[in-house]
Amino acid sequence: MTTAMKKPTGDWQPADIKAELIKKYPAKIARKRAKQIIINEAQENETPEIMANVRTIPGIITMRGCTYAGCKGVIMGPTRDIVNLVHGPIGCSFYAWLTRRNQTDAGPDGDNFMTYCLSTDMQEQDIIFGGEKKLAAAIQEAYDLFHPRSIAVFATCPVGLIGDDIHTVAATMKEKFGDCNVYAFSCEGYKGVSQSAGHHIANNQVFRHIVGENDAEKPGKYKINLLGEYNIGGDGFEIDRIFEKCGITCISTFSGNSTYDQFASAHTVDLNAVMCHRSINYVADMLETKFGIPWIKVNFIGADSTAKSLRKIAQYFDDQALIDRVEEVIEEEMPPVLAARQEVRPRTEGKTAMIFIGGSRAHHYSFLFSEMGMKTISAGHEFAHRDDYEGRRILPHLKVDADSRNIEEIEVNPDPTRYQPRKSAEEIEELQKKGVPFNSYEGLMPDMEQGSIIIDDLNQHEAEKLVEMLKPDLFCAGIKEKYSVQKLGVPMKQLHSYDSGGPYAGFQGAINFYQEIDRLVNSKVWSYMKAPWQENPQLSATYNWE
């Protein structure tokens, strides 16, 4: 069916949908959710206010994870040569073991500890008498076995409660080893309201303990960091391919397919390109404040967005050679993309999608869907903040609540010796005039269609209702949501882990995505749900007299 001419929600009035979604809740809950479910009436720069980054409602089945997941799972997990040691009972380390599809390439003999799951496996007596000694011993054992460049310690819930001083333990061991950087993350699961707090905590410690450790000048003419790219399904590999082809040197990726040394050298670049700003903008800001490196928002999800982002970067360096090279590359890469797009479009045109993931990914992917002529009729994020919906410009108006206040904000000042603005204020202004958008990003809402439905922290109940009411052709979320949606006969694509697919970033990724979505929304499978005797229940015996 094509809804091309209809409003995103088809025969439904958005308001009725909203009412449907919340009608079953106790009054108090309904009131709260009403603020997190927005009918999109974004006009120019006027976007409605959404409530986001607030507590999950106890008992309401949420998509969210915890701070530990955001810190260890998302940010630190993808770094191959740092030994991640989880201090706590066994579970948290086990669940974060190889479950995120953030790929890495250590070559035949590089360090790669991502296949290892380390834990202090705290026992009752550790809870009672404290786990510091055990942690110190575990760090020692890890060091003796692996002699890694660096060991990262992660606290799980009980650690904070029993008051283990993991930072002192880490510092002591670092001191002791000499050749191994050891530091800790107080990322107990109960902190904050979602993974988001974990990202922030990770950002802080990486900046505090690693960034700036290596001043060695790295070769490369156009040096950048790519922030907020996690190489899920090989996205980062594709982006690296494109950078290389353009002659852009990516010194450090935060944190897909990354190494300790990349972080350590992150301050040596001339630009930070920020992809998932939600998870990493803290580092971008700190790098700017301390070292004078400007940052711009980029997006490599979608071929058009990729081209756009490349052009921005080139513009930033303001060098005709790079600008020309980027144009050449785009010219070379686009034809197969357009061919693939054309091939699937007759089958995807006008199909509808819903996207509920991450903190900026839903936004990113909506572009990719529109490249296929698919309409995103409802979307939202799992751990976004208001600015991710409404745009960075509203930051000043954000009130910081208790939960956020508990997450450390580190005070950063210009580095006495190494601070060096890459561009003068004038140059910045110049470039800004040319449309290089420094320190800013749009929100999801302005890019969504009128009347589409934006929902923050969507939960099981609302997801089910939405699908039943609007029957999208595709629903995008995470593993926990996958099968309840598919039971309803609607194909579900994981956009955290990509199921078993990817890369979907860059040019090649766009082609992969077109084909994968084509497979999903046009699969015969969904026509098998009813048996013949359910379709024609009448009982007329018919014989073929062969």
Binding site: M122, K134, A137, K480
Partner: protein
């Protein structure tokens, strides 16, 4: 190499666990609770626990796993989770309307010392638990035991729902332990075949192996009903399959309600299944029908036909105690040689039992409770094996060491079949045998020289 940093030389580790062969209690409690009809498992802790357990169970079953959480914040962690729990109970009964909420604790709520029974009482007093609905709870601190312990604790809480009427109901309680939904189904089939009327709990069949039909049911048809759980106190006896998963619940019913119990091994393989069937027979005083004799005879037949491919083959095993005990006995009965065996679940008696089962095999078995896959891998490097049987995490060892690999246990994240084809009972034994022979023969077909390549095996 995928595990390129694992040295052959084995060094003693006191504090560090690497590549665990276990996870934490709450996920076991969650899985068990899904075996109650109309039950929503609830995780009393921060929301990450619940998210992780749901994700892992979902990847294993490729089915929706519904469970809720108290979503602790820093505040709750300081002032206690009672308020969150009360709000959760109210929201759950309002929005999802389950028959039962099965609450389990986490390291968080255990560390701060939340008292669930008390919170539940408060909920009752505040009328947050509708009439005819139930809230049960189990204490499952992540820092003790393992996922198996958590399963056992929740099953014991299920047994605690027993409400004897004083009048025996002629049934036998069967506690299957942590096996697949299809295993529970198969156990029910066997029990019925023997002519015994039973109450099986927990029972995840019909819950976690559901159809695709265009409708989503948060609470599918399957699961042990509250009425059945209450009736367990009136049963003639209890058969607990697997001491680690089911023993406590059985002993609880025995001690509390005088329902005599037998604790058996999980019915994997010939002999353990024999004992299970025979226990049903003697307990219920029935005769074993020919049909079961036939299934048994088919298993013995295949064992005898294929013995030459199994004889003296070395096997490395990792998994949970009840499963490992049963599979070890099965492998020994096939004249195979289980040489390295680890479970992450602590308990010396596991090591003792394994040593008993492998006695007289003419070699010293490597066995460790509270061991991990890192150690197993090192053992394998020091004494190579012909076969690895383990959950999906074994694939990293199998690829590095080029080992024939049978996925068995929890979790299985990368293959299909465990949802639909039982490995318990005699038919299950045939399936295990098929799988073991399959990988051994695939290897033979791969490695045989062209002169030795065989048409007939």
């Amino acid at each position: 190499m995928l595990l390129r940093h694992t040295p052959q030389e084995i060094t003693e580790r006191q504090a560090l666990t690497i590549n665990p062969a276990k996870t934490c209690q709450p996920i076991g409690a969650m899985y068990a609770a899904l075996g109650i009809h109309g039950c929503l498992p609830h995780s009393h802790g921060s929301q990450g626990c619940c998210a992780y357990h749901r994700s892992t169970l979902t990847r294993h079953y490729k089915e929706p796993i519904s469970a809720s959480t108290s979503s602790f914040t820093e505040g709750a962690s300081v002032f206690g989770g009672s308020a969150n729990m009360l709000q959760a109970i109210n929201n759950i009964f309002t929005v999802y309307q389950p028959e039962v909420i099965a609450v389990h604790t986490t390291c968080l709520s255990e560390t701060i010392g939340d008292d669930l029974p008390q919170i539940k009482k408060k909920a009752l007093d505040e009328g947050k638990i509708p009439a005819g609905k139930y809230v049960i709870s189990a204490s499952t601190p992540s820092y003790a035991g393992s996922h198996v312990t958590g399963f056992s604790n929740m099953v014991t809480s299920m047994a605690a729902m027993a409400a004897p009427t004083g009048k025996k109901n002629g049934k036998i309680n069967v506690i299957p332990g942590w096996v697949e939904p299809t295993d529970m189904e198969e156990i029910k089939r066997l029990v019925k075949l023997v002519g015994v009327s039973s109450i099986l709990f927990p029972d995840t069949s019909g819950v976690l192996n559901g159809p695709l039909s265009g409708e989503y049911k948060m609470f599918p048809e399957g699961g042990t009903t509250v009425a059945e759980l209450q009736a367990t106190g009136d049963s003639l006896a209890t058969l607990a399959l697997g001491d680690w998963c089911s023993g406590d619940a059985a002993r609880y019913l025995d001690k509390t309600h005088k329902v005599p119990c037998q604790v058996l091994d999980m019915p994997f393989g010939l002999k353990a299944t024999d004992r299970f069937i025979d226990a049903l027979r003697t307990t219920a005083g029935v005769n074993v029908p020919e049909e079961i004799g036939l299934e048994r005879g088919q298993l013995v037949d295949m064992i005898s036909d294929m013995h030459q491919y199994l004889y003296k083959k070395k096997v490395a095993l990792a998994g949970d105690p009840d499963q490992l005990i049963a599979i070890t006995e099965f492998l020994v009965s096939l004249d195979m040689c289980p040489v390295h065996i680890v479970t992450g679940t602590p308990g010396k008696k596991f090591e003792r039992r394994i040593k008993e089962l492998t006695e007289g095999m003419g070699y010293e078995v490597n066995v460790k409770a509270k061991g991990d896959l890192f150690l197993l891998h090192q053992w394998i490097k020091n004494e190579p094996v012909d076969l690895l049987i383990c959950n999906t995490y074994g694939k990293y060892i199998a690829r590095d060491e080029d080992l024939p690999f049978v996925r068995w246990g929890f979790p299985i994240l990368d293959r299909q079949g465990h949802q639909y084809f039982p490995t318990v009972g005699y038919k299950g034994g045939l399936r295990l045998l098929e799988k073991i022979l399959g990988v051994l023969m695939d290897r033979k077909d791969r490695d045989d020289s062209e002169s030795k390549f065989e048409l007939v095996l």
